[in-house]
C-alpha cells in the first residue's frame, strides 16, 4: 500500500492511494491519513484510481474520516474508483453516505463547494 499526500495551491489536500485497501492496507494508511487531514479540518480529495480492492475496513475508514472532517468544517471527496471498487461502493450504497466523483476535476469542485 502506498500513500502520497500533497497540498494544492487552491487549499485542497490531494491524496493518492495505491494498492489493496484490505485490513493490512487500512492499518498501514489510516493513522497517517487521519493525522494529516483531521486536525486541520482539511478539504481532501482521495484518488482511488490506483486502488484495486476495498474491504469493509476501508469503507469504515472513509466514513469515519468523512464524519471527522465534517465536524471540523472539512470535507472528504473520493474519486476515480476502479470498476470493481465502484461495484463495492454501489453495493454498499456508499454514494448515499460519501461524496464520490468520477474524476479529479469534479472531486476538486465538490470539495471546494
Amino acid at each position: 500500500m502506498k500513500m502520497d499526500i500533497q497540498d494544492r495551491p487552491d487549499g485542497l489536500v490531494e491524496i493518492a492511494l495505491v494498492g489493496r485497501l484490505d485490513s493490512p492496507g487500512v492499518d498501514f494508511v489510516e493513522l497517517s491519513l487521519t493525522a494529516q487531514t483531521v486536525p486541520r479540518g482539511a478539504r481532501a480529495i482521495i484518488d482511488l484510481s490506483g486502488v484495486e480492492f476495498v474491504g469493509s475496513m476501508a469503507i469504515r475508514m472513509f466514513i469515519t474520516l468523512a464524519r471527522a472532517l465534517g465536524k471540523s468544517n472539512g470535507r472528504l471527496v473520493l474519486h476515480s474508483p476502479q470498476p470493481l471498487v465502484n461495484q463495492v461502493f454501489e453495493t454498499a450504497s456508499l454514494h448515499d453516505i460519501l461524496a464520490i466523483e468520477p474524476d479529479a476535476a469534479s472531486a476538486a469542485a465538490a470539495a471546494l463547494r
Binding site: 475496513m57 466514513i63 469515519t64 470493481l84 461495484q87 450504497s93 453516505i97
Partner: protein, 365 residues
C-alpha cells in the same frame, strides 16, 4: 567468528530474540505452531515424525525443515504427492521466506518469525478467537435435510475471524426466514458484534418490528446499531421471508450484494434492494421487494468472502466470477455449498482465505 545471515532483517530478528516457527494451517485454522532450529524437524504421517500430519495425501516421511544461516529451508524427502510452494513442486531444498507457506496434502505449513513474548500474546489471541469462533458456530442452525424447504451451508471463518453469521427458522405456520450478516472488520470484536445481532434476530428482540417485513426489520436494526455507538462497526445484511402459501419471497438488503434465486428453465434472479449497510446512515428507510419462488427453485445467500479472492497470479476475483458456480445439476442438493467452497478454494491462491466464507443454500420443493 561472525555469523552471517541472508538479510539485515534476519540478523535483526535474531538479535531481537525472534525465532522461526512452522505453523500448520488446515481449513483456514491454525492447528499447531512448532519452533524450528538448526536441527532438522521431520514432517509426515508416521507417529515417529516431529510434526505429524494425519492426512492420506501426506507420506509417512514427507519433508524436513531446518533453520540454516537464519533462513528456513524446506526439503521434500521423496514424498509421493509432493510439497508445493506457489503451486510448484519442490525439487530441491528451498528457502521458505517469512510469511510464506508450502502446501502438503490438505495442510499449509507457514513460516512465522516471532519472539517468545509475541508467541504468547498470539496464542492468547488465538484462544480468544477459537472461543469466539465456537460461539458463532454454536449459533448456526443445523442443516434441514428433508421437507419442502431444505438447507445446506458452508461457514469457514478466516484465520483472523471475520464477522459473518447467518440463520434461518420458522416465523409462523406460513413464513420461513433466512438471513446473513457480515460485520465490518475482523477479530473477536467483529465476531461478538455479529453474535449480538444474530441473537437480536433469533430472539426477535427488536421493538415493534414485524419480523415478516424485511424493510421494517432493517430499519429497526439500523436504529439499534448505529456505527458511531458501536466502535465504528457496521454490518451488511440480506434478509428474506418466504411465504409457503403464496410461494413468495419478500427480501431486503442493507449494503449487501444480491442473493440469487435459481429455478429450472429460468434465468437466475438477483434479489437485492438498494440501501446502505446497517449503522452507516441513521434514519434510512429500507424497503422490501418480492419475488415469486418457482417449484424446484434454489436460493443462494452468501458473504463477500465467497467471491472476493485473489488467484495465484494476483488476479482479483469479483461477484461475476463467482456466479457461474451457482445452480446447475447439483442445485439445492446436499453438499452443494461445500462443493462451491471447494471450487472457490481451488481458484484462490494457496493459503488461507482473507475473509470468512459463508454460503447458505435453500432448496424449495
Amino acid at each position: 567468528m561472525i555469523a552471517t545471515h541472508a538479510t539485515f532483517a534476519e540478523a535483526q530478528a535474531i538479535a531481537e530474540g525472534q525465532r522461526s516457527y512452522l505453523v500448520v494451517v488446515h481449513d483456514e485454522q491454525r492447528e499447531a505452531r512448532h519452533p524450528v532450529g538448526v536441527e532438522p524437524l521431520t514432517v509426515g504421517r508416521d507417529p515417529a515424525r516431529q510434526i505429524i500430519i494425519d492426512d492420506a495425501q501426506v507420506s509417512r516421511l514427507h519433508l524436513q525443515v531446518a533453520s540454516v544461516g537464519g533462513q528456513l529451508v524446506v526439503e521434500d524427502l521423496g514424498s509421493s504427492n509432493g510439497t508445493f510452494m506457489d503451486g510448484r513442486r519442490l525439487a530441491a531444498p528451498t528457502v521458505l521466506p517469512v510469511g510464506r507457506w508450502v502446501q502438503v496434502g490438505s495442510r499449509l505449513l507457514m513460516h512465522e518469525r516471532r519472539s517468545q513474548r509475541e508467541v504468547e500474546r498470539e496464542e492468547e489471541l488465538e484462544r480468544e478467537l477459537r472461543k469466539a469462533r465456537g460461539y458463532v458456530e454454536a449459533l448456526l442452525p443445523p442443516p434441514v435435510l428433508a421437507g419442502p424447504i431444505r438447507t445446506n451451508y458452508m461457514h469457514r471463518p478466516s484465520l483472523q475471524l471475520g464477522g459473518d453469521a447467518f440463520a434461518y427458522g420458522v416465523l409462523d405456520e406460513d413464513h420461513v426466514v433466512a438471513y446473513l450478516i457480515d460485520v465490518s472488520g475482523h477479530g473477536v470484536t467483529a465476531a461478538m458484534h455479529s453474535v449480538t445481532v444474530l441473537n437480536v434476530l433469533k430472539q426477535r428482540a427488536l421493538p415493534v418490528a414485524d419480523f415478516r417485513d424485511p424493510g421494517q426489520v432493517l430499519c429497526h436494526l439500523n436504529d439499534m446499531f448505529p456505527m458511531d455507538a458501536h466502535d465504528g462497526m457496521f454490518f451488511t445484511i440480506w434478509y428474506g421471508v418466504y411465504s409457503a402459501s403464496r410461494r413468495l419471497l419478500s427480501f431486503a438488503s442493507g449494503g449487501h450484494h444480491a442473493a440469487y434465486l435459481h429455478a429450472p428453465d429460468r434465468a437466475p434472479a438477483a434479489l437485492r434492494t438498494r440501501g446502505p449497510m446497517i449503522g452507516g446512515m441513521p434514519g434510512y428507510h429500507y424497503q422490501a421487494q418480492t419475488a415469486t419462488v418457482p417449484p424446484g427453485a434454489t436460493l443462494y445467500v452468501f458473504s463477500d468472502g465467497a467471491f472476493e479472492i485473489c488467484d495465484a497470479e494476483g488476479r482479483q476475483y469479483g461477484l461475476e466470477d463467482f456466479l457461474p458456480l451457482l445452480g446447475g445439476d447439483g442445485a439445492g442438493k446436499p453438499g452443494e455449498a461445500e462443493r462451491i467452497y471447494r471450487a472457490v478454494r481451488e481458484r484462490a491462491r494457496p493459503g488461507p482465505l482473507d475473509d470468512d466464507f459463508s454460503l447458505l443454500v435453500v432448496a424449495y420443493d
